[in-house]
């Protein structure tokens, strides 16, 4: 049953899955760091679920559901960004409305579609093993755009995310940057739906970042470690998904969580050990003197 990695690599579907996992890790590692730092996880959840409306419409009218999801995601992302600021509608209420409206739309259209929808589960829970070459190509473009954007505009992204009000006092195009970034968030979510599914994609944008945040409190370093953890988690998840024939989203999340626990516990143990060593064989006043130095 267990095939060697080299053997697996000969299958087209498997290399596609591997590429998809890698590209999703890069995009989600970067964008997720932005999401977690700015505390817009709830907005991202809203965008994710709103995109399901597009998937349903894609099903019904017979075009690529991911395209429909992208349209829905970007429109709701920009809607949340602009409407709540302009009209004074409560942002979280608006997100809640878009969240459920998107799901409702999706369900209605999926049910109206003739016949059985076999890959619906794939959109909900991820099906990384069915990713096509075309999907990989789209993900690659998005990853490149995100990398370039974050390299070129690192400073403004960081400063605006940290303190918008202050950035405005320096005549920064805050609104424009926010719109571009929330669009990238929406596209990253949609591109990762293939990997982890609508229900579970948020995990790729939050769990690796939380793990990275244990190691560092620097934005740049956090991006790096998030990509690393997202990559490790999704590759492991991919292999497990393949071996046990379960939805990739679920196995990826379990890998990410285990990784988080491993880092958390080893960090905790390490500081414990260090503390014990410091205390070893020293009288309290010596310890105090050490601390002062």
């Amino acid at each position: 049953m267990i095939e060697s990695f080299a053997e697996l690599m000969q299958y087209r579907f498997f290399t596609n899955a591997l590429l998809a996992a890698t590209l999703a890790s890069i995009a989600c590692g970067i964008i997720g760091t932005y999401i977690v730092s700015r505390r817009i996880v709830f907005i991202s959840g809203g965008i994710t679920h709103a995109s399901f409306g597009g998937i349903g419409i894609g099903y019904y009218y017979g075009f690529n559901p991911i395209l429909g999801a992208a349209v829905f995601a970007v429109i709701s992302a920009l809607g949340i960004e602009m409407i709540s600021k302009k009209t004074g509608v409560r942002e979280d209420s608006l997100i809640g409305i878009l969240w459920s409206l998107g799901m409702a739309t999706g369900i209605i259209f999926v049910f109206m579609s003739p016949g059985y929808a076999p890959d619906l589960m794939g959109y909900l829970f991820g099906s990384i093993l069915t990713v096509s070459g075309n999907d990989v190509f789209q993900m690659a473009i998005l990853a490149v755009v995100i990398i370039l954007f974050f390299i070129l505009f690192y400073k403004p992204i960081l400063f605006i995310a940290f303190d918008q009000e202050y950035a405005k006092t320096h005549n920064y195009p805050v609104q424009l940057m926010n719109c571009i970034l929330i669009t990238l968030v929406a596209l990253t979510i949609v591109m990762s739906i293939r990997v982890a599914g609508v229900i579970l994609v948020l995990s790729l944008l939050t769990i690796p970042q939380t793990t990275a945040n244990i190691l560092t409190r620097d934005f740049r370093t956090m991006i790096f470690w998030s990509v690393v953890f997202a990559f490790a988690g999704s590759i492991t998840g991919l292999l497990v998904s393949f071996q046990l024939d379960i939805p990739s989203g679920a196995s990826i999340i379990f890998s990410l969580i285990l990784l988080f626990l491993a880092v958390r516990i080893s960090g905790w143990t390490l500081s414990r050990v260090r503390l014990m060593k410091q205390m070893n064989g020293k009288l309290p006043h010596q310890r105090l003197a050490d601390k002062k130095r």
């Binding site: 400073k155 995310a161 009000e165 950035a167 620097d218």
Partner: protein, 254 residues
């Protein structure tokens, strides 16, 4: 004394709500103005109008700057601290460097020169050793100095502080005002506070903002005057009788 800027009959607000009405104020070099007024009176809005973040409905802000200085570069700003995220993954040095941000320097990373500038200011503020720390690990007083450094890195001619004492322990507060007194030798300062008792020690003049602005050309103010300015603020601090508080402070001072 040379004029830095002039607020000329400015009416401003948000949407259709008027927050400031017909405000006039000229700010000169070496000014040290304390802005007082009730919560929601429009103090923060006034600072935002000066920085161009809030556009006036009517009236004008005139800057008297040399050709090479653009309007925003001459102001340094320390915002009210209530909505800052302490857990954001950013280092002290990066926060200070963000005081240099402008449309022009949109791309490039920081030059070594800018970093050196940031370090020298951190050194002046006595927090150079914290330069690589994430802001989440600082105390209120240390954080306040970081934000002050950010406001100072662009060498402003006008420093604006919005309720800087809210987050600071009393021990640091004395230091903080001493720093401001030193800075005032080089730049004009506007400080918003509702702790009238304390700021009158340091400021030279007082402006009362409560929709309208009343300028008081002295740092001695009485309860009666405040009422005349329509500025419902209690002067009484430390149980002293209102109009003797400030006289007493002045004596301490000499």
């Amino acid at each position: 004394m040379e004029k830095i800027l002039e607020i000329d009959s400015v009416t401003a607000g948000y949407g259709d709500q008027v927050v400031l009405e017909n405000v006039n104020l000229a700010i000169h070099e070496k000014d040290f103005i304390g802005i007082i007024g009730p919560n929601g009176g429009g103090k923060t809005t006034l600072l935002k109008v000066i920085m161009g973040v809030v556009k006036p409905f009517r009236g004008k802000i005139r800057f008297f700057t040399s050709v090479e200085e653009n309007e925003r570069r001459i102001t340094g700003y320390l915002p009210q601290m209530n909505n800052l995220d302490r857990n954001f993954p950013i280092s002290v040095t990066d926060v200070v460097l963000s005081g240099l941000m402008s449309r022009e320097g949109f791309f490039s990373l920081y030059s070594g020169k800018q970093k050196k500038l940031a370090y020298s200011i951190l050194e002046k503020m006595g927090i150079y050793h914290l330069r690589n720390k994430p802001v989440g690990e600082l105390s209120g007083g240390q954080l306040q100095r970081v934000y002050l450094s950010r406001a100072l890195i662009s060498s402003p001619r006008l420093l604006m502080l919005d309720e800087p004492s809210t987050f600071v322990d009393t021990r640091f507060e004395t230091d903080f005002y001493e720093i401001l007194r030193q800075l005032n030798k080089e730049m004009a300062i506007i400080i918003v506070s509702h702790d009238v008792g304390t700021i009158t020690w340091y400021v030279k003049t007082i402006a009362c903002v409560n929709r309208f602005l009343h300028y008081h050309r002295s740092n001695v103010i009485t309860q009666e005057q405040l009422e005349a300015y329509n500025c419902p603020i209690q002067l009484i601090t430390h149980g002293d009788i209102p109009h003797t508080v400030l006289k007493k402070h002045e004596k301490d001072h000499d």
